[in-house]
Every structure is written in structure tokens, then in C-alpha cells.
């Protein structure tokens, strides 16, 4: 495994298939795309981390408002810089793949939405989330009044234990009823 860079071993490939929701072709494609992101000398090194800037050049992530969060959540870097190894990258693709289960998708969705990484979605997270969803431009932004109402409505709906935040199980409860979450929480290379 020390030398991932050039080629994926057969055993490794089958293990990846076992461990992710990806098919062989998808893994190979992911590998190809990932190595394209590497610079020349990085290719020889095993276990390279690709910095977040380069990951975000992928067209699949480029226009996603949560791109930074996604990298951050899937990164295993100690420095919290959102850099991804190939396996982190596979993890990402697996969670966003077609066949990933609702449970795993909602888990990662929660982590992505949890902007301050404190394990719950509180008002600040929700506000950031809304701002992500409504885009950067001012004309699509909600007014503070609307924002307030929106957040209070959301909490009213999904905050079952009324502690002012949405925790993972509440989140999953809400998400599991949604008919189109699984179909929209998808990234395909």
C-alpha cells in the first residue's frame, strides 16, 4: 500500500469496493481524477494529501455552497486544513454515491451542516446554512426578519427535545421522512 500513487493494487481495489458504495469503475475513475490533482513529484509519494484549494477545482464541487465544509468533514488531516488523501476522497464519493444509505448520507449531511463542529445544529449553524443556500449575492439574501422567522420555524419543527438545537437523531428523524434527500445528496464524478 506504500505506493498508491501509480496504480491501485487488485486487492486494494476489491477492498475499496467492499468498504465503499462505489463500483470498481467508479473507484478507478476516482483514482484517476485524484491523481490528476497531484503535482508531479507528489505522485511518487505515497499517501499524499491534496490541499483543499486543489480539491475545490473539481467541477463537481466548484459550485457547491458547502464545498469547504465537505472537504473539512471528510479530511483526516491533523491540521484541520481540509486536505484530502485518496481514501478520504473515496470516503467522500462513497457517502455521496447513489447507493449509499439514508443513514450514512444523513450522518454526513449533519456533519456538513454543523459548521462549528460542536455536534449540534444551533442557531448559528442554521443561519450559516441558510446563507449558504441563498447564495452570496445580496438580492437573494433573506432579511434578518425572515431569517429569524425561518430559523424559529425550523427549530419548532425539528427540535423535538426543545433544547434550542437540532441534534443528530432529530436531524435524521427529519431527513428520513424527506422523499428527495437521498436523490439530491449525490455527487457523481
Amino acid at each position: 500500500m506504500g505506493t498508491t500513487a501509480s496504480q491501485l493494487g487488485k486487492d486494494l481495489l476489491s477492498e475499496y469496493q467492499e468498504l465503499t458504495f462505489l463500483t470498481k469503475q467508479e473507484i478507478l475513475l476516482a483514482h484517476k481524477r485524484f491523481t490528476e490533482l497531484l503535482t508531479k513529484d507528489e505522485k511518487d509519494l505515497p499517501n499524499t494529501r491534496v490541499p483543499v484549494e486543489r480539491i475545490l477545482t473539481l467541477p463537481e464541487l466548484k459550485s457547491n455552497p458547502f464545498r469547504k465544509r465537505i472537504c473539512h468533514v471528510f479530511s483526516t488531516s491533523e491540521y484541520k486544513d481540509g486536505s484530502l488523501t485518496f481514501e478520504d476522497f473515496l470516503d467522500l464519493l462513497s457517502a455521496f454515491s447513489d447507493s449509499a444509505t439514508m443513514e450514512i448520507k444523513s450522518h454526513y449531511a449533519f456533519r456538513i451542516f454543523d459548521f462549528d463542529d460542536d455536534g449540534t445544529l444551533d442557531c448559528g449553524d442554521l443561519e450559516k446554512l441558510v446563507n449558504c443556500l441563498t447564495g452570496e449575492t445580496d438580492d437573494t439574501r433573506l432579511t434578518t426578519e425572515e431569517m429569524r422567522q425561518l430559523i424559529s420555524n425550523i427549530l419548532e419543527e425539528s427540535d423535538i427535545d426543545k433544547d434550542g438545537t437540532v441534534n443528530l437523531s432529530e436531524f435524521q428523524h427529519v431527513i428520513s421522512r424527506s422523499p428527495d434527500f437521498v436523490s439530491s445528496f449525490k455527487i457523481v464524478l
Binding site: M1, G2, G9, D11, L12, E15, E18, L19, F21, T23, P46, N47, P59, S63, N64, P65, T76, E87, L90, F96, D98, S99, E103, I104, A109, F110, G119, T120, L129, V130, L133, T134, G135, T137, T140, L142, E146, L150, N153, I154, E157, I160, D161, K162, D163, N167, S169, E170, Q172, H173, V174, I175, R177, S178, P179, F181, S184, F185, K186, I187
Partner: protein
Amino acid sequence: MYCTYPTTHVESVTCGSRHSDGAVRYLSWVLVVEIEVDSDPSGSDDEGTQRRPNRRQGAGRGGAKGRGRGKKPPSEDEDEDEEDEAPRGRRPANKKKPAKKHGGGDEDESEDEAPKRKRKGAANRKKGGKAQDSDEEDNDVGKGKKGKKGGGRKGGKEAEDSKGKKGDAKGKDKGKDNDKDKKKKKKDDSSSDSNSDSDEEESLSEGEMARLMEEVEEKKKLIATIRNKPWRMKRRLLNLKEAQGFVDKFEGALGKGKGRKWFAYKVMMKKKWIKFQRDFENFRTACIPWERKIKEVESHFGSSVASYFIFLRWMYGMNLVLFGFTFGLVVIPEVLMGLPYGSIPRKTVPRAEQATAQDYSVLMDFQGYCKYSVLFYGFYNNQRTIGLLKFRLPLSYLMVGIGTFGYSLMVVIRTMAKNADVGGGDGDEGEFTFAWKMFTSWDYLIGNSETADNKYASITTSFKESIVDEQENQKDENIHLRRFLRVMANFLITCSLGGSGYLIYFVVKRSQEFANRTDLSWYEKNELELIMSLLGLVCPPLFETIAEMEDYHPRIALKWQLGRIFALFLGNLYTFLFALFDEVNTKLEEEDSIKNASLWAMKEYYANYTFMINDTDSTPPPMNPADIIRGPCWETAVGIEFVKLTVSDIQVSYLTILIGDFARAVIVRFLNYCWCWDLEAGFPSYGEFDISGNVLGLVFNQGMIWMGAFYAPGLVGINVLRLLSSMYYQCWAVMATNVPHERVFKASKSNNFYMGLLLLILFLSLLPVVYTIMTLPPSFDCGPFSGKAKMFDVIMETIDLDLPAFLGTIFSYAANPGLIIPAVLLMVLAIYYLNSVSEAYQNANMELKKKMQMARDEEKNRRNNTDSTNQVMKDLEDLLPNRSFMPPAPPSKPEKMPELEAKPTKTKPGSAGRGVNLQRDVTLASPNPNARGPVSRPPGPRGAGPAPGAGPGPGRGRGRGPPPR
């Protein structure tokens, strides 16, 4: 018991990777055994003593046995634990045995040190595998000598000792491990397998075997679900999986030496099957047409407009199937095998019409050659079978006609049921509107910045819209004024509906007058269609204007609007139908006389022929088919009416789009530069996409297709073309010329309202067709049923002639009213029963929901204060004896719980020690007196892990927060 070890994984990994899997594993087992013995001297004393010397001696035997036992602890722990344990075990083991042997492996050490444990997993597979192979030789040697060696070299070198052990362990491992590596396996089989397996068999008791099997099952389950665990670290997964895979394989072949191959085959097939299913699913989703187009529209105009296009696509699919039936079973057989054009009278244009039969205007009216073609009922012959294949065309025609309705009904109802299933769920539809908008509205597939901008806009609108919705629910104003206005609006609309009905009636009457005249202008000929199209054009906007008074929420307003337009269309359609029936009746009367005239003319012809030729022997040549006097063939007339209506409908709707939307958009866009006021923002502005009108147009059109398809098989083809073209045309038009609605609103998720309309119109169009089939006599000289008293006589004929006699009798019995009435009765009863059952379910549902709510409240209160609010529960709790022993809830609970909730999957498979910790945590946190803490756990380490669903007592589950649902 392992938690006491220091966790210096890196080191252990290093060592582990240096050696072959088997060795490491073995050593770890040895260690396990040692620990076990050390920590628990009372248990299995003799075994322990037996093992210890063994280990010292270096013979692998003790190890083998030790494994049987040593294996247990990891199995009892949760899976994650095991991987932790393995490296830990390795470290001390390595200390014992300096790495003399595998110096080659040392080079990798530094490299492997840096990455964490996961690396090791992979490395072991690849590199370790190789090392193993190279080791194989000496292992075999070692093994071969093992027995003697063990005894002989009691105080032998440590290195030699460990080698022997290793060899033994590996051999066994492999023997049981029917790995991917064929090579290895073969070797093992030859040498070590025989040796160790026999060893194994004798050393493992029944109970141990069973235990192992159980464990295997567990691992298997884990492996199947491993990808469902949202563990962040792949390395953990990988490690875990590797360990599992190893154990699984190792156990898999254990009990059943013979079934191994079969087992492997089964596993492989299962994998293949899953893969195939996945691929097929991918393929199926890739086959859905226009997904991108609709998404594009959706991103611009919101889901309501997109729902129209989705509906259109659905209609297209359904019509494609109908088209397949009609053309595959009726039209194409007729074209291929039926008599050609001009062979018999019904397939020939009459002499009087031949001069103009190819004129454009005539063809556009579907007269002339069009009328005498496969497109219409009259062209088909009443031969029982056609062609070499003896295709029973009349029967097939009738069956397709009925099957069209049957299929449509089935599809519509199935779709409705499915939609209700998806949308309804458990009645939570309205419960999470905001949360869903928030959490699920982003489409992660969007990879285009423009689309993303649209999505931002649409999400913003949807937020705003739902806020407006919410406010709408809360505001209340002058209710009397609104009521008055609504009544008023309904009155006005009823008036205009009545007016349009009368107008059509009037026009129909007039057209019957016109029918007797020949000098008709173009307007007079097409008056009916024109008026109907005009009404369809004028009335909906009128209704919309009136509906402004009502001031409903747009979604409700849309429904009202749809309902009203539907009523209008329906009135028009039925007026039209009644007019048509009148026409058919007159034609039927006419037909009788013509029938006689035709027969008479035929006789006359033959008489004349014999008279002229004066030769009674020679048979006269058959009369030219064009000359034979023909009946009016009312079926074809009806078919032509429907086709004309459909075509004019297509024309009108396309022209409306072209003029009303496109021309308007062009004018507004370009005249805006030189106009006195702002055209774009001011009066004409751009058009909005008229959802209700378009949906109803589609539904209504489909109704006409259903009605007309029986009399004009070609109509289905025309409709398919229409839907196909309008998909592209309207997609283009909506993107190019329309602006999003000012108040974008989300269509109700299930399109069941559209479907309901469709079902209604299907039923309404079913009635006249079935009526004509069952009651009216078919024309005597055209169509597949000519010469029969009723159309459905074809079925009787088939039963009589083609099926065995007893089936005929069965059918005659089945058609007996004495049987039918009880059957109907039975069905009614079944409906009643099912209805009441569903009601009961609903009640149960409500009850459960209430309970859930109550539980939630309870929970909430429990968090805030330890006291229960529910009186009953309180009483019950008072009765519990242990109440006073329970520690009070720590105040920090609310902060703590989310933390726990956030990573349930991580904590779940915690090691035994961790599991206990967690449990203690929970029990401490839970003020629930029901939870007696760890005492109530089943004994043995297996229970230590918080097995899902098997938690000790309900209290713990409750204490942990809202039950996962």
C-alpha cells in the same frame, strides 16, 4: 481486559507489518492466552498449564488450542475492539521475539511507521502476503519438524522457537483461510492443512465450534454492513474489514470442509447479483428521458412548472405503451397481412370522391384517402383471421380497445397509490416543510455555476414562499368580505360556465342544420371546433381574473382554477358527445336504407350482367369496389371527429404559445427600447407559464384520445407525436419566453391532483365508448365487426369456435346474473371491510403518534427535572423499589447528550472497556429508576457492548435521548 495496555499503536503496527499475518496473529493469540491465564488463574487451569509449557517449548500445539480459547475474547468484544487488540497484542509479542528473521521487513518499518494502523492493513495484504509466501518454505520445514523439535529443543533459541510457532500458526490460518490467494491455499492444502486441520478438529469441542460459527455469522453481518457505518476514518474501516475478512474466512471453512467451494460460489454469485442489480438500477435511471431538461426548467421556474413537465413525461410514457399495443396488435398486422387498399369496398375511396380524394383541403379534413386508411375503424375487414399466422384481427381489435382502458386505469391508479404512499408516509407531510427546505433542498449534483445561481434563487424563493405560507396561516382579516367575494366569484364562474355550455349547445344544433346543406363556408364547416377552442382560450383567463377576488393561496387557487376549467372542458366535451350521438343515431337510421339499397344494387348488377352477357353460366366479374353503394359508417365518422378535434387542439395550443408567449416576449423585449413606458415591468410584461391551463389541456386531450382511440387507431400515434413535440417545444418556450411566477410555489409533492383529474376524465371517457360497444350495432359494411349484431359478439364467436366446449359453458355460467350479483356483492363487502380496516389502522396510527408525542414530552421533562409529568408514570415510578438507590441526574446532562448522540456509531462498537464506560455514563446520566445500571446486564463480555436493541432495560434507551427512529 485489554484496556490496561498502553496504546502505542504505531510501534505495534511496525512490528506487525514486518511479519506475516499468521505469525502476528498467532503471537497475539498467545498473548491473549497469556493474559487470560494471568488475569484469571482460576479458570481453565489445566489448559493454561498445558499451554504454558507448550509455548515455552515452541511447539505450536498449545498455540492452536490457545487460539480456540484465545479467539473467544475478541469475538465477544465488539469488532472494533478486536482490531485494537491485535496490534496491542503484537507489540509485546514482538518484544519477546527480536526481529531477526525478517530483516527484509524492517526496511519498510520506517515507512510504515508514519501512517497509522490502516496502512498496516493494506500493507499486510500486499507485502505481508508476499513475505508469507517466501516464508512458506521454512515454515513447512519448521512444521514438519515441529513435533520432534518442540520436544528436542526445549531450551532452544528463542528465534527458532518463535519461528516454529509462527509457522504453525500460519499454516493453520491459511488452512482455514480460503483466501483470495489461490497460490497460498494450494500450498497450505498440501502441507500444513492436513496437519493442522486434524489438530483443529480434535482440539475444538462442539461448543467451541458453535461459538465460532456464531462469531462467523456476526462478522459476516458486520462485513455486510461495514459500509453503512459512518466512520470517518477509512483506516479504521480498512483495518476492521481486514480483520473481519480474515476471521470470517478462517471460520468460514471451519466446520464444513466440503461445502467450502459451494459456499464460496454462493458468496460470489450473491455479490454478482448485487452488482448486477446496482448496474441495472443505474441503467434504469439513466434511461429516464429529459431529466436534465426538466431539472433545468425546475431550476428556473420552481417545482410547480416542473411538475407539469413531469406529468407530461409520464403521459408520454403511458401513451407510448398504448401506442405499442395499438400499433403492434392492430395496425401493423393489418398493414402486413390484411387485404391491400382497393381490394374491397371498405378499403377503397368511392367513385364519387375519387376526384378530390388527394386534395390538400380534403386530406386535412381527414376525408379522401385519409378516411380509407388504417388510421380509421372503417378500413378494417371482418375476416376472422388474417394472414398465414391466422391472426384474429377483430378479436385483437376489440381486446386492444378494452385493454387500452384497462391499462390506463391500472397505471393511473397505481401511480396514484404510489404517490400517496410516498407523499403520505405517515401523515407527516406538513410537519417538516421548513426543515426539509433547509436540509434537503440543495441539489449536490449541480456542477454549473449558472444553475447554482438559479438554485440559490429558487431556494430563496422557496424560503420566502414558505414564510409567506406561514404568515398566511396566521393572519385573519375581514372574513365576511372575503366570504362574500368568494361566493360572488363562484356565482360569476357558474354563470360563465352555463353560458359556454349553452353556446356549445347552440353551435351543435346549428351544425346539425348545416349538415343538411352543401354550400358551406369554411367558418360554417369548422364552427364547432372553433368555438370550442375559443372557449378554451377565453374562459381560463376569465376565471383567473375572477379568482383574484377570492384571494386564495396560490396553491389552493390553482386547484380551484383547475377544477373550474375542468368543468368547462367537461361540459364542452359532453355537449360535443351528445351532438355526436345524435349524428350517430341519424347515421344508423340512414344505414338501414342504404343497406337495402346496396343489396339491391348488387342484385341489379348481377341481373344486368347476366342480361347483358346473356350467359347464365359464366360468373360475373366482381363489381368494382369503388362503385358499391356504402353505408355512412358512423364509427369512422366518430373517429374523424375526434382526430379533427385533437389536431385542432394541437394547432391552437401551439399557436397560442407562439403568439401569446413568443411574439409577446419578442415585442416586449425589443419594443422596450423605444416605448413610452417600461414594457417589461409594466403592462404587457412577459408571460407566465400557465400551469393549470396546460395541465388541463393535457388531461382533456388525453380524454379525447381515450374516447377516439377505439374508432381511430391512428389517434394514439398522433398523440404520441404531439406529446413528444410539445415536450421540446414547451420546454423551449418556457425557457425562452416565460418568466417565473411572481409567487413561486411548490406543487404539492404528489401529483395526485393531476392524477385525480386524469382518472376522472378516464372514467368519463370510458362511459361513451363502452356504451357504444355494448349497445350500438356496428355498421354493416365497414370495420372489423361488420355483420355482427353487437361488437362484443366477436368474443362469443371466439369462445364458441376456438376454445374447447367446456370453457364455453363455463363462460356462460360465469356470465349468469346469478353469479355476477353475488360477485358484486362480495366486492362491495370486501370494499367495506378494507375500508374499515384502514380506518382502524388510521386510528392506531394516531394513537401511536400521540404516544410518541407523550414520550417526547416525558423525555423533555426528564431532562429538565427528574420529575415525571405524566401522572400515571409517576405513580408507577413510585412503586418501583430501586428509586432511592439511583443517583440523581447530573445537571450537565443536556450538554452531554448531544455529544453522545453525535457519534453513536462510533461509540457503539466500542471495546468492552469503552462500552462499560459509556454505559456508566449513560446510567449516571439517566435519572430513570428503571435502569438498574450494569447489574442487569447479562453476564459475560458479549453483553458488555451496547448491543442494539438488546440494551439492559428500557430505561437506558430512554435516558440516551429520543429513541432513534
